[in-house]
């Protein structure tokens, strides 16, 4: 009997450890997901950090149409749109596009644009050297500005892809403020 009790205790303990491990695993999924998304370019995640374009040559034989799309999250009272609806770009070439934003909320506001790229398989190849979406953007009441994105398409992109859509959703990030307030690098105030 007492022998039995002891082995119950041991097995129970092992299983409880397994359960705790799996609870931890649920949280492990968060960094794991970020890592996989960044590596695979899922959800435009690779577009959230600056890339270098050292050693790339321009492939003028191909032209890709990059269309820009903007969305305001939860009816945020902002104007937010690209200055041009699309650009034609050769793989390996760097281009600059501005997005116009105007704060119509009637008070100061910090926002951040979250990128998304379709088709999914193109996400890895559309890269940015500089983007307003890398940081939070501070807007005074009524402030208007053009915000820059420098981007290029990696020549390694599959030849089947002829069109890419780069979409930004603008979020009110008032609840998630980062330290570098009033960060407006590269912005043209209007």
């Amino acid at each position: 009997m007492s022998n039995h009790q002891k082995s119950h205790k041991r097995l129970t303990l092992i299983l409880v450890c397994g359960v705790l491990l799996m609870f931890g695993f649920a949280y492990m999924l968060v960094p794991l997901y970020k890592l996989i998304c960044q590596k695979e370019g899922i959800n435009g995640r690779s577009g959230a950090t600056a890339s270098s374009m050292a050693g790339l040559s321009i492939d003028t034989t191909r032209t890709i149409k990059v269309t820009f799309l903007t969305t305001l999250h939860q009816h945020l009272p902002f104007t937010f749109k690209p200055v041009k609806p699309f650009l034609l770009i050769h793989p390996g070439e760097r281009k600059l596009i501005y997005f116009y934003a105007e704060n119509k909320t009637g008070h100061d506001m910090t926002v951040q644009a979250v990128p998304s790229i379709t088709p999914g398989d193109a996400a890895r190849f559309l890269k940015k050297t500089e983007c307003f979406c890398f940081t939070q953007q501070y807007f005074f009441k009524g402030e208007k500005a053009d915000m820059p994105v420098y981007f290029f398409v990696d020549p390694a992109i599959p030849s089947s892809i002829k069109e890419i859509t780069l979409s930004y959703t603008l979020f009110d990030v008032g609840d998630f403020l980062k330290k570098q307030q009033h960060f407006t690098k590269g912005r043209i105030d209007l």
């Binding site: 009997m1 007492s2 039995h4 082995s7 119950h8 097995l11 129970t12 299983l15 409880v16 397994g18 359960v19 705790l20 799996m22 609870f23 695993f25 649920a26 949280y27 999924l29 968060v30 997901y33 998304c37 695979e40 370019g41 899922i42 959800n43 999250h73 951040q112 979250v114 379709t118 999914g120 398989d121 959703t169 979020f171 009110d172 990030v173 609840d175 998630f176």
Partner: protein, 545 residues
Amino acid sequence: MTDQHIATQDNDHHDHDSHHGPAKGWRRWLFTTNHKDIGTLYLTLSFILMFVAGTMALLVRTELFEPGKVLLNPEFFNQMTTFHGLIMVFGVIMPAMAGLANWMIPMMIGAQDMALPRLNNWSFWLLPFAFTMLMSTFLMSGNAPDFGWTFYAPLSTTYAPKSTDFFIFSVHLMGLSSILAALNIVVTIFNMRAPAMTWMKLPMFVWSWLVTAFLLLAVMPVLAGCVTMMLMDRHFGTSFFNAAGGGDPVLFQHVFWFFGHPEVYILILPGFGVISSIIPTFSRKPLFGYHAMVYATVIIALLGLVVWVHHMFTTGAPMDAQLFFMYATMLISVPTGIKVFNWTATIFKGSLSFETPMLFALGFLVMFTIGGLSGLMISLVPSDYQYRDSYFIVAHFHYVLVSGSLFTIIAAVYYWLPKWTGRMYSERLGQWHFWLTTIGMNVTFMPMHFLGLAGMPRRIPDYALQFTDFNQICTVGAFIFGFAQLIFLYIVVMSCFSKRFPAATSQVWEGAHGLEWTIPSPAPYHTFETPPDLATVNAAAPQLE
């Protein structure tokens, strides 16, 4: 020497104890550590909740009888679909399976009780509190949870009603209850088997539950993590699922379905075990391919852990990932097919009789396969784009959960009821119950396939005019199905309390094999205080061909 002495004393004391029957009155049920009592409690709770969630389903079907508003506000409609799903999954199927495990596993492996009886009591009594808390959200100001049983973020975080916090804690309690029950089952099966009972003599029901218990231990903590992240997003300023703070709502779906897909195997695997007990009994033949059945069960569980993305093909996963998850999903149909073929082979050339448990088992075999085939259709990425979030999905998962899991539970209840109560049930009413249930079930869910293919989305309280006819058929079927369950209630209550029906023998069914059939009916309060010997175990073991 001293140790031995103490051990003997302990045993004596135990023997003495066991001559007390159960305690009297409500204390028996509140404080019980007896596996049979706890099994009864689980099954009773499940039975009550089945009528609660069934009523909700009938409200949903009533609303869908005609386009436009029939009875319910859209908000309340959403709460009904949410609660119907939540209660049926967590309050009906899972507790019923746990109840069967509690009743049957110790009796099938020759153990005197579960390994951790006090824990067993706790794991049951968490559930009534969990569901009281969940249902109490209807009494609160604002909406009750209304985001579907899958509670996708941000519907369940940013846009959720305030009562969602009660939902979160009730899911915590349900999860804790399942984890403790699974833990207990694993320890029982590992440590409490009769000495002569080796692994390959375990009845299939026990094997199925062992695999299920491991699945529960693996994924219920992930569900707990998932709702905890929701809670943190809602109140502690984190942004796991909020893009504004750097999170991602798609992450929610990954965490949820990492739990959610194995969950569907948790709901069906014990049922496979039930069918593997019933079909040989009424075919009067040993189960065909016992070893293959064991391995198939294990493989289904393992594959079930790596296919969760097939619930989210349209969220934009990369092509390679979609291919992997599509093929892995289709691969599951191989071990499942092995099981279906083995059951069919067991029936083949058997000496069949069609008592109610067998009818439900055969109904399961046919209709679960229909659900499996529609599952194969939606596992294909390109066709999934068409079927997703339509009534085709609703039809599919009701075929595998109603004519799958629920049918196996009903079959199990008819099969073991005489062992539990010591009396037979009314066979004539049982047949009525089966036919009405089967007809009702098919009239309800078969037209949903066509509604889905024609483009009717799920979770919508209103629909376009051209869907009216088929929806009305569905609603009529749902009421037949729903009211047929009152016959079931009547049969079970009569078998428990009426003396009208003949007393059951120990073996109950002519072709039944297994340790549970060697003890008298009704099963005494304490069984197998001394483990059965080798000869008894061997005689009762699943016979190999």
